[in-house]
Structure formats: C-alpha cells, structure tokens
Subunit: 339 residues, 2 copies
Amino acid sequence: MDKNPRITVVLAGWEEKTFMPQAVKDRLSSISDQIVYLDSLKFNDGAEVVEQLKKTEPEILISAWTMPKLTDDTLEQVPSLKYLCFFAGSIKGTVPDVLLEKGLIVTNWGHSVARTVAETGLMLAIGGLRRAGFWTLEMHTRGGWKDRTTVQTGSLFGRKVGLHGFGVISQELRRLLIPFGVPVMTYSPSVPDSLLEEQDVTRANDLEELFSENDVIIELAALTPKNTGIVTEELLRMIPEGGVFVNIGRGAVVDEEALARVAVDGKIQVALDVYGVEPLPADSPFRSIDSILTLPHLGGPTTDRRQDAALFGIDNIERYLAGESLQAQVTVEVNRRIT
Amino acid sequence: MDKNPRITVVLAGWEEKTFMPQAVKDRLSSISDQIVYLDSLKFNDGAEVVEQLKKTEPEILISAWTMPKLTDDTLEQVPSLKYLCFFAGSIKGTVPDVLLEKGLIVTNWGHSVARTVAETGLMLAIGGLRRAGFWTLEMHTRGGWKDRTTVQTGSLFGRKVGLHGFGVISQELRRLLIPFGVPVMTYSPSVPDSLLEEQDVTRANDLEELFSENDVIIELAALTPKNTGIVTEELLRMIPEGGVFVNIGRGAVVDEEALARVAVDGKIQVALDVYGVEPLPADSPFRSIDSILTLPHLGGPTTDRRQDAALFGIDNIERYLAGESLQAQVTVEVNRRIT
C-alpha cells in the first residue's frame, strides 16, 4: 500500500472553507505530501474534471456537492484512481453507477452528521410544543404578545416520544432525550430487539400504535418505495391532541397534502425541516399555516460541523491506507437504497 | 395540627383547569373534605375576597395569578387563616408585606417550574445557533429557501456554554446539556464550589471571562439592583462571532438598547423570551431585527405543566400539616429579593 498517496481535492471555495478549516487540512497533510487542491467551480462538466485528474493522477479523490458528475470512463482515463472519499451524503449527482460496478471505492459522510440532525429534531419537538413558529411570526410581524388566560404551550417533559425509523439519527436523538426522562417508542421493523433494549426503546408493532400512543412523533424513516406516502392522513389524525409531528427525515414519506389539512385544524402542531419537493415551492400551503414551523432543510450538518464529515472521511482514508474495512462505503447495493 | 383542614381555593376558571386537572383535585381531596372552590374573577378587590373568606374560614388558602391583593387586615378578619399556598411565582400582587410580617405562611411554585424554563433555554440556544427565527420569517413571509453556498448555521455540539447565574433553572439546564458533551462555565459568585464540582461546571471569575470564553451565553441572573443593566454592550461584544446570547431570566439584567445594536451587526445571534418591559412594546426594535428570535415570555411553566406547580403546592400543604419545614417559603426577606 502506498503510504504517501497522491490525493486530489476537488471542492468549491465555500466547501473547502467549511469542510476543511486549517486543522482539517493539517490532518490530511499528515497523511500525504502529494495533495492537489482544485476549484470545482472551474469545471463545466465531469469530462473536464477527468482531464485534470489525468494530470494529477490521484489514487484518492476527495469531493463534495459541487464536483460535476464523473464520466463513465473515468477509471480507464485515470487508472491510478482507486478511492473517492466523498465528504457529503448522496453520491447520485457525482458517481455514475458504472464506476461502482467497475470497482471504484466510494465512501460518504455516514453517521458523522447524525448528531446535528438529531439536535434539529429535539429543537423542533420542543419548538413545536411551544408553538415557537407561531409566536415568532406573532412577535415579528403582528406586534403580538401572549394572553395568559388563553395561551397554550406544551413541554417535552411528561410526554411520550415516537420515532419512525431507528437508524443512526434516531439513536443520537434517543441519547439527547435521556435527561427529559420521556418514554421512547419506535416503529422500525428491521432493527433488532437487542439494540432497542440497549437503548431503552419500546417497539411499536405498527404505525397505528406509534402514532396513537405517543404525543411527539419524529419522522426519520428511510425513503424507500414502500415508505413513500406511508404517513397518511389517518395516521396523522391519530396523534393525540396537543401533540406534535416533526419531520427531519424525508418529506415524501408523508402525504403532504393531508399533513396541511391536519395542520390547519390545529389539534396538533407540525414542525418541518424537509419536504417532498425542495426548495419548498413559494406557494406551498406549509408556508402560510400558523401551526406549522418550517425550516429550509437545515438539519445537518450545520456549517460549523461540516468539518465532522471531512474528519470522518479522513479517518476512512487512513483505514483505506491501512487496508482496513471502510465506514459508510457506498456499494452498488447501498446506492440503490440511498435517497 | 388539624388533619382535615378547611381549604379555600380562589382561582379563575382557566387557572383551575390548567393548575388543577382532575388528578390534582383528587390529590387535594385526599387531604381534606372541607374544600371550597371560589371563582377569583367574581371578586372586584381583596376586600371582597376577605368577606368571602370570613364565611369559608379557611386555615389554608390556595390561589395563583388572578386573586386580587389581600387587604392588610386579612388576618384580623379571618383569624383561621394560617397558610397561603400560592401556586404561581411572584406574590407581590397578592400579598401585602404586612401579612408576612404578621406571620402568614406563604409558599410559591419554587423550583417546580425550573425544568420547563431550562427546556426553553435549550431550544433557544439550538434555535439561535440555527437562526431558526430568521428562517421561520424567511419561509413564512418571504417565500425563502437557503442557499447552500452562503447559509450559516451552527450546532450546539462543539460549543462552550456560559450560564450567567446558577440557580435551579441553570442546574436543570446543565442536566439537559449532558448528552451534548459541552463544557459549561458559570458566573455566580454566591454558588459554592462543591455544587459546581458536583455538576461539572467551571467557575468564571468575572463576567468578562464568561462572555469572552463561551460561544453560547444563557442569561439567568436574578434581577437585583446590582444586576440591573449589568450585561453591557462591552460584554455582549465579547461573545465570539457565530455565538448566541439567550435570555430566559429577566430582561432588565441586560442593557437592551445595546443588545439591539449588537444584534443588528449580526456577528452573534440573539434569542429572547424575556424583556425589561412586558408585554414587549409593539415598536420594540427586537421585533424587526432578523438576528433576534423573540418569544412572549413562554419559559415556564407551560400550560400542560402548571399542574407541576399545583402538585408542588399540595406537597407543601402536606408538609405543613405534618409540621415539617416548607419548600419555597416566601419570607419577608425572600420577598424583598424576588423579582
């Protein structure tokens, strides 16, 4: 194994600045002194990237959101290239399937961003119960103030929390909930009992149980064909009055037209970071319903924690160089499931 | 000690409903079968309350925000009255000082609401770092969406938290911060070292150290004459860029005009639940500055947790009847300090 590998980094200036503050660059430099940084925004397409890679001859390529999609013949053109260490999540816009099939090793940011998404979920759960979105609008656009005789605010203390899906984000969120002492239930057919026991989480037998038995529903199910639109109006109406529905997973898991209808009724609060169509259209009803708090997909990673994703990637580069198995490797099979 | 005391409850309908849901009433009924419920809104002033108390002859009086202020001669008029169990916080609008001096025992909600205020602080810290107030306004009033190349969002992970004041709310908040693994510092001259060690909190030697060494400042100092306006523009400008200033304590602790100036610069985010003047005036600059998230003093208790304050009060009634010392007793001395 080459211990001083040629590494080419293809990032936009704003990506380089946030994913790779100096300490992160120093860490990468400790692995190799053959690192070339290229500005991704100078390339019009993947063919231009490949032309450049023919000159830098990297074994390892680092990129994130902005690098154009590589061409199908990248490995033939750049035979030195073995490993794409992708600092971001979905590789669909970056790597043609055929490169995976031809043996290009690819990893993404894996679980390194889970904690910031979980943190968003906690904020939206508390903020939803408090109606923080409504009150922000009241305070900033309507000169409002509460009326103590009629105000309705809820606390997370004393509530029951239901997590739809129990992947790494749910597991981080479960950890953040510990000091609140709330019971946590999940619907996640694939998760083993041992993990639920270890994390003190009860299994819901179906979504009906999850939605009717908990006040705070946090949506984190993977977007698979089976899960598309699986959160129906019927389920949403099972959430007890005064409860909250939070989506920090994928918008298309939810019947969003139904969600808007349920939110208008105001029996539950809704707090959303993700939508079936993003950017959320300007005329989306979500933007004008008071009982819905909306954020523009800020879940994770936050700007200041993009470095976590880069450090996770650099860990993987070290594993790769040591011949160890990689974390968050995107295989052909995984890539088919990722959304 | 009378084991079946006469108890008179003077609450508005909306107070009775939220402080005393049926389970709480049942608990009180287990103490006495001589309980009279009166509607506080039927009384024009304290003299009318006292007239009624002459008929019900309570040993224990329960009230909250809406009961008119008792008259100075209440104890002479109602000699049976020994103990006012006040379900809310400040008794200034309810009890003339002279009644405390004459020996009326008074307790308030004590620390029973601390956890919901702490929860608000956590939400505002995360929400401030994320600019959730700004994004709520963008999404709901301006048809906005993030631009990934320029968006700036922060996480609580990796930050340092400074608590100004270390009373019961700060202690609850410190507990909620545990899963975030953030170092916590406090400036609170009166708190003993042993408590800080027990809770893994570092002491700041002065406010300059607190504000310059931490990214997230949470204001929880008591409003004493000494503390009024103690958070100056100079201190606010010491908070590192990208940090956040959260106030869930008392507005008047802060130089609010300076706070507005600092917020306009946008180097730090600001999240406020309390103000020097409440309701916050309609023309307050806080309402129109994008880097300020404002709530209308919703800290605590939330509507659904007012019952915690009532249960705390009923615990005190049991202590009183057992001749034990009371929690959160408001003495003449304490009353002078409370704000």
